[in-house]
């Protein structure tokens, strides 16, 4: 498994992922794999012990991962690690980062340089995200810390 880090937070290795339903019984669990159909807010009771939430793309077109990540960061103020895995494209790197994902499990045969390039492609953004930002003179535009 090869991880691509979207930000400065060093990715941690976790032995066992459990599912949402297993979390209640397995009080030792620190890492969860959230199903694509689950609301991130279902993790609320377990937040203080969770260190890692893994979000899985069944296919790269399934944009629910982005909302799950934002709900974790914005609504639940989750400060642990968020990881994306599954069928994901380098073209999605900056979107993931801006929604609060820390790192990505690179699919087989990924071009790391392209991931790096995509992460820093755009100098400004036109809407707020979960990242700290500085307004750019005039309107909606911002620069974000990268």
């Amino acid at each position: 498994m090869k991880l691509f880090e979207l930000n400065e937070r060093p990715a941690k290795f976790h032995e066992a992922l459990v599912t949402l339903s297993e979390l209640a019984e397995n009080t030792e669990a620190r890492a969860v794999l959230l199903d694509i159909a689950d609301d991130a807010t279902a993790l609320k009771p377990y937040l203080n012990r969770l260190e890692l939430v893994v979000l899985r793309f069944p296919i790269f077109r399934d944009g629910r991962v982005f909302t799950q990540a934002r709900e974790l960061r914005e609504y639940l103020r989750f400060s642990g690690e968020i990881r994306a895995e599954g069928h994901v494209l380098p073209d999605q790197a900056a979107f993931l980062k801006r929604c609060g994902v820390d790192n990505v499990v690179l699919p087989e045969g990924s071009d790391v340089e392209l991931w790096e390039k995509q992460l820093h492609r755009f100098p400004v953004a036109y809407q707020r995200s979960v990242l700290p930002f500085r307004p750019v003179e005039g309107g909606l535009r911002i620069e974000e810390d990268s």
Binding site: F60, D62, Q68, R98, Y126, G139
Partner: protein
């Protein structure tokens, strides 16, 4: 360069962003060609940049935000039509332009040419928030309360490469108007917004969700009556977030927000949006007056001044020239300034292809915009072109200039102002060709006097149930269907997109192309025979129902 009238002026930072987007797309094309992107992976990426694979070639759809362009931008369209296409372009019902004969490997060059005039194809297709449409008479109409274009630009910017909403369950269309007379079909959009003045001098917004045409035509429902300006973006984030999380992804025909709104009911949808808003940091999403004013400062306002006798001059011309008078009656709209008028240039010549314009016509329209309307042009959702600020005493000269290039059809809002999708001539989804029947109908009712006599009557033609020709919203709607390999048309009556939006009802069995044209001719004759004084087609239909029309349409079949 001074700020253009009617649309947002880019600066260096906007241009760098656009250049980065083109580099990204160019790289995606290269990866597709070298095989590192599969066609399944490339398809959504190219669609998000407006590139379709049609029946015979690639088609590039270029965004015209809120339908407004300047003359330089129009000349660039002409250049693209000449250089990369077959010398014409097609203006669409969502105020965009499409080029139908594009080569994949040339698209990055086209995008770089477009970027020279601050234009792009970003999010003109794909499962993301599409080009935001607005009132074609914005900033000019006498009946307007709020100019919606500043907020349309804000929505364009906000939705551009939105990190959370770029892979939605399905496409997402937003329209915004600032007039009590709905000219944007607000209730046939995923989100329709009507702006009005608020008590504090800032606008407030009435928001409809879950409208749309397509296979399942549904009229949008009001979710909020009065959203304050500073809450606009937060509210839209919340509406789209609920959709992104819960919209269906298992069946593309049930994936639009309208299906989710129907499934939950509008009250439950509203509660879900309010629950989001309660969890959101509203300060973070606040649209401040300073932000709005900074965007507004990038729009130039036309300095309107007309001689005192401008209106009298126009009246005098109308009295002496009946042909001009006919054109003024159908093709103009009152301007907020007494000495000015809004002129609509019809792209529906009798027997022509609705919405098509040649490069020569585009160049000429650009010149006329410079000469008569502050260099500004608007594309209408009925595929015509508006010159928004014409001095009344110069309207006659403009009309004569339009006549020279065959752009003076007097049929706006009349039976010749037909909306048709590209149909089977271009589109892989179509069951029938929409263009030939549009041409036949246009020719049949080509006479300007006859059209004026018939009055307000809109025909919309779709080549399949995806309804790109908005047949559900046509006063007379035609839907192409396939009957054992033959092209047939189903007729619907009574649809309307404006105030009091409704969906047309099917009149009877589908007919072959020529029989359909004849049936419509009989139906129109029937209306002329039974209407009461001052009644439009819809008035007569509302009064009598469709029985007399059904009898007329099918009498000899």
């Amino acid at each position: 360069m001074n700020a253009p009238v009617g649309h947002y002026q880019y600066d260096q930072s906007d241009r760098e962003f656009l250049a980065a987007r083109i580099d990204e797309f160019s790289g995606q094309v290269t990866r597709r060609i070298d095989g590192s992107l599969s066609e399944d992976e490339f398809k959504p990426l190219r669609l998000m940049n407006g590139l379709y694979l049609q029946l015979h070639a690639y088609m590039l759809r270029v965004a015209i935000p809120y339908g407004t362009i300047d003359s330089q931008q129009m000349r660039m369209f002409a250049h693209i039509a000449r250089r990369y296409d077959r010398d014409y372009g097609h203006f669409t019902t969502r105020q965009n332009i499409q080029f139908n004969w594009i080569k994949l490997e040339e698209t990055p060059d086209i995008l770089r040419d477009l970027a020279k005039v601050d234009m792009h194809a970003i999010q003109t297709s794909g499962n993301c928030i599409r080009n935001v449409t607005s009132d074609e008479f914005a900033g000019a109409a006498a009946d307007e309360v709020v100019d919606p274009r500043v907020h349309a630009e804000i929505l364009r910017q906000w939705s551009t490469l939105h990190p959370e909403f770029t892979f939605l369950p399905r496409k997402f269309k937003i329209a915004i108007s600032g007039s009590p007379n709905d000219r944007v079909a607000a209730r046939f959009h995923d989100i329709g917004i009507l702006a009005r003045s608020g008590a504090d001098g800032r606008p407030v917004f009435r928001i409809f969700v879950g409208g749309g045409l397509g296979r399942t035509p549904i009229i949008g429902q009001e979710i909020f009556d009065a959203v304050p300006e500073e809450r606009l973006l937060a509210t839209l984030e919340a509406i789209v977030r609920v959709y992104n999380a819960h919209g269906r992804r298992d069946n593309i025909y049930k994936a639009r927000i309208k299906i989710l709104v129907q499934a939950l009911g509008i009250d439950a949808y509203r509660e879900a949006v309010e629950a989001e808003l309660q969890q959101m940091d509203l300060e973070h999403y606040r649209l401040t007056p300073e932000m709005v004013d900074a965007i507004r400062a990038r729009f130039a306002v036309p300095e309107l001044s007309a001689p005192d006798n401008a209106s009298q001059e126009l009246s005098a011309r109308r009295e002496t020239n009946p042909e001009f008078d006919l054109w003024v009656r159908s093709n103009t709209h009152p301007h907020r300034d007494a000495g000015h008028i809004i002129a609509v240039v019809s792209l529906k010549p009798a027997g022509g292809i609705p919405g098509d314009a040649t490069s020569a016509q585009m160049d000429r329209l650009a010149d006329l915009a410079d000469e008569y309307s502050f260099g500004e042009l608007r594309i209408t959702h009925l595929q015509n072109i508006v010159l928004g600020h014409v001095r009344q005493d110069r309207l006659y000269d403009l009309w004569q200039a339009l006549k020279e290039v065959d752009l003076a059809s007097a049929n706006i809002g009349l039976i010749g102002d037909i909306v048709a999708c590209p149909g089977l001539d271009y589109c892989a989804l179509a069951n029938a060709r929409s263009i030939p029947i549009a041409q036949k109908l246009g020719a049949r009712f080509g006479d300007a006097t006859l059209q004026a006599e018939i009055g307000a009557l809109r025909i919309n033609i779709s080549g399949c149930i995806n309804a790109c020709g908005h047949h559900h919203a046509g006063h007379i709607g035609l839907l192409g269907v396939d009957k054992r390999g033959e092209e047939f048309f189903q007729i619907t009556l009574g649809g309307r997109a404006e105030n009091g939006a409704s969906i047309g009802t099917i009149l009877g069995p589908a007919l072959p192309e020529d029989d359909t044209v004849d049936a419509i001719a009989r139906l129109v004759d029937c209306y002329l025979g039974i209407r009461q004084r001052g009644e439009t087609f819809l008035d007569t239909l509302d009064r009598l129902g469709d029985v007399p029309f059904k009898e007329a349409a099918y009498e000899t079949v």
